[in-house]
Symmetry: C2
Subunit: 416 residues, 2 copies
Amino acid sequence: MNAFAPLAAIDAAKLEKLAEVTVKVGLRLERGQDLVITAPLNAVALVRLITQKAYEAGAGLVTTFYADEEATLARYRHAPDESFDRAAGWLYEGMAKAYAGNAARLAISGDNPMMLANEDPAKVARANRATSIAYKPALEKISNFDINWNIVSFPNPSWARQVFPNEPEAVAVSKLAEAIFAASRVDQLDPIAAWARHNDELAKRSAWLNGERFSALHFVGPGTDLTVGLADEHEWHGGASTAKNGITCNPNIPTEEVFTTPHALKVEGHVASTKPLSHQGTLIDDIRVRFEGGRIVEAHAAKGEEVLNKVLDTDEGARRLGEVALVPHSSPISASGILFYNTLFDENASCHIALGQCYSKCFLNGASLSQDEITARGGNSSLIHIDWMIGSDNVDIDGIAADGSAKPVMRKGEWV
Amino acid sequence: MNAFAPLAAIDAAKLEKLAEVTVKVGLRLERGQDLVITAPLNAVALVRLITQKAYEAGAGLVTTFYADEEATLARYRHAPDESFDRAAGWLYEGMAKAYAGNAARLAISGDNPMMLANEDPAKVARANRATSIAYKPALEKISNFDINWNIVSFPNPSWARQVFPNEPEAVAVSKLAEAIFAASRVDQLDPIAAWARHNDELAKRSAWLNGERFSALHFVGPGTDLTVGLADEHEWHGGASTAKNGITCNPNIPTEEVFTTPHALKVEGHVASTKPLSHQGTLIDDIRVRFEGGRIVEAHAAKGEEVLNKVLDTDEGARRLGEVALVPHSSPISASGILFYNTLFDENASCHIALGQCYSKCFLNGASLSQDEITARGGNSSLIHIDWMIGSDNVDIDGIAADGSAKPVMRKGEWV
Ligand SMILES: [Zn+2]
Ligand SMILES: [Zn+2]
Ligand SMILES: [Zn+2]
Ligand SMILES: [Zn+2]
C-alpha cells in the first residue's frame, strides 16, 4: 500500500508557501481562533504545515478530520443497503457548533474526481442527500459567511492521475502540484503581496458591476441563449471578503471570479456547459438545460445524465440558480489549458452558474437579512450548491439595465 | 517524510485476523449499528480492514477520527499559551451524541508513549485536564457501558521504537506486531474460538470471586502492604461483558484481568508500582504512594513525580481508587517479558489498581444504579481513570472476609 502522495514530486518550498497563503490570506486566522480542517488522508503533509502556521498565528486549537477514499469505497462495496441513507449528523452538528463558537473552517480539496464513477448512482445520490441534510447546519454558517473560511487544494495522486492520465504518477503529481501552486500564486516571490494586488483587481470589477446595477445578464454562445435575471438588491463580490465575524478572508484559493445572486424566478432560455462537471466522484459532461421562470424544465447531458437528474431532484431549489459568476477566458487557470475535474479550479477558468443555495452576502446588507427577506429578493435556497461552467472564448455577455437596454460586459470571453 | 508504518514488516494475514477479532469479538457489531473509530494516522491499514469488516457485518456508517502525533507536537511547539486550556468540546459532545444513538466505539491505540516526554509538564497537564472535561459526556457513556466498545492496538513505528530501542525500525515494528498478534490471540488457527475459551476462563475466575464476596484484598510484596477495601455490592468482571444496549462484547483486546470496584474510602497502607506507567506521553516510574481512608496522602515517583502529582490534583477523585484488577504473573503478556509502555498491554501483565473513575458495571445491578447510589456503595468518580501496575511474582494477595478472616487468593503472583 502506498497511501501517501509521492512527496518527492512536490516542491517543498512552494508547499510551505501554500500553507502560509492558506493561513494568512485564505483564512486570515486571528489569534485565539480555533480551526477546523477537513482533508483527504493524502494531504497530511499540507495539513501539518498549515497546523504549524495556524498555531504560529495564534490558533487556539486545530482539529483535523481526515477522509479516506478507501473507506468510502469500502462502504459502497460492502455496506448493507440501508447504510446509504445514513450520515454522521453528530459530526456535522458538532462542526456547526464549532463555527457558532467562531472557529474558522478550512477544507482541503483533492479527492479523486472519479472516485465513485463505477458505483451505483442511486446509492451515490442517496448518500449525498443524507449527507447534505446532515451537513446543512454547518453549511449554512459557511454560506451565510458567519466565520472566515477557505478552500485550498492538495495534489492527491488519485486526482493527478485523472488530470494527467498519460503520465507516470510522480510526474502527474508534480505537474498538478505546479498547476496548483501557479493558480494559488505561491510560485511568485511574494505571494502575500501578489494576493493583495489580485484582490484589488477583483474589487475593481465588482465595484464597476455594482455601479451598473444591471437587472439581468444575457449570455449568447454555441448552444446558449440565456437571460439570468439578477436578484433585487444583489451585490457583486470577488476576492477578499468580510465575514460576519469581522474577518476579511479569501474563501477560495485560487479565485478569479466576480459573482452575485441571480433571481430564482427570473432565468429564461437555454444554456450549454463548456467544461465537464465533476460532481462527488462522477463526471457530468455536455450539459444542456432549458429554464422557464427560473426553473430548469428540461435537462440533458451526454454523460452522467442520470446523476444530473438525481441532483436536480434533490429539492425544489436544486432546479434554480443560486450564483452567477464572471471569469475572463484569459484568466491564468483557463490559460493553463488544464482541465482539473475540480470545481474550485474549473469554475475559476470560466464564467459559471450554480444550481441551488445562494450566498446571503451577495445582497446589499446581506448580513442583516432574514431568510424571508432573502427569498423575497429572489435568493434561492437548497441543500446543494453546484457550480458548472458556461463560459468560453465563444461566449458574449451583455448587461441588461432596468429599462431593457443592453451594455456589453464580455466579448469572446473577455471583459470589454 | 515516511508517516505510514512499514507495512512490509507486518504480517498481512494476522492483521486481517486482528480486524476480524475486533469486529466479531471486541465489538460484536450488530447489523445497522454505526461505528465511531479513533486511531493514530499510522493505523490506516488496520482502520481500512476494520471498516470493510464492519460494513460486511452490516454497519450503518463507519466514521474514523484520526489523530496525528505531528499535529500534537506542533501545538506544543508553536501554539500560544492559552491554547493549552482548549479542547474540541464540539467533537466529544458529538461523539457522546453518536453513542447515545447506539453507535459502537472503537479506539485504536498505538501512540508513541513518550511523545510528550520533552514538552512542558504544566502544559501537558492543562491540555489533558481540558480534554478530560470536554470528553466527560462521551467517556461516561463508555465507562457506564451504555454501548458496546473496544480498544485494540496497532504497531505504530514510534511506539515500536520505544519498546525495542535497539532494533532497526522495521524489525521493531515486526516484533511489536507479533507481540500484539499473540496477545490478541490472532496467531491461533481459530482466533474466534480461542477468545470463546479465554472468555470462559475469565468468567470462572470472576464467578469464584463473586462467590467469596471478600470485603477487602490485602497485597503484600516489596514496598507494598496495602489493604484495598471493596465497594459494597461490588461485582467482579472479566472478559466478555454485556453492555446496556444488550450486546456482549470484549472491551479490551487483549485482556487477561478480572476486576472490580474498590471502596473509595477504605484503602489503607502503602504500595509500590512494579512496572513503569506511560501516561499520555510521559513515563512515571517507581511510584510509591500511601493511602489513608482511601485517599493518597503521600506520593513519590523516581521518574515523572511532577506529572504524577499533577494527575493526583486533577480532582478529588483522582486521589482515590476506581478499580482493582487481578492478573496472574504467568499470563501470556507477562510471560512475553516485553514492557509495552502501553496500559492496555502492561495492565494485562500484572495485578493493577486505577486512580479515578470506577465502572458502574462492577456493582450488582450496576446498570440500574444512580450516581448517588454508586457513591453510597463506595464507587469513586473522577475525570481520570489511570491504571498502574502493582503485581509481580513477589506479591501475595489474601482475600479478607467480612469477619476479618483471610483466605489466600494469589501466592507469588499466581492464583492459589
Ligand atoms: Zn463561483
Ligand atoms: Zn459557487
Ligand atoms: Zn484493569
Ligand atoms: Zn482500568
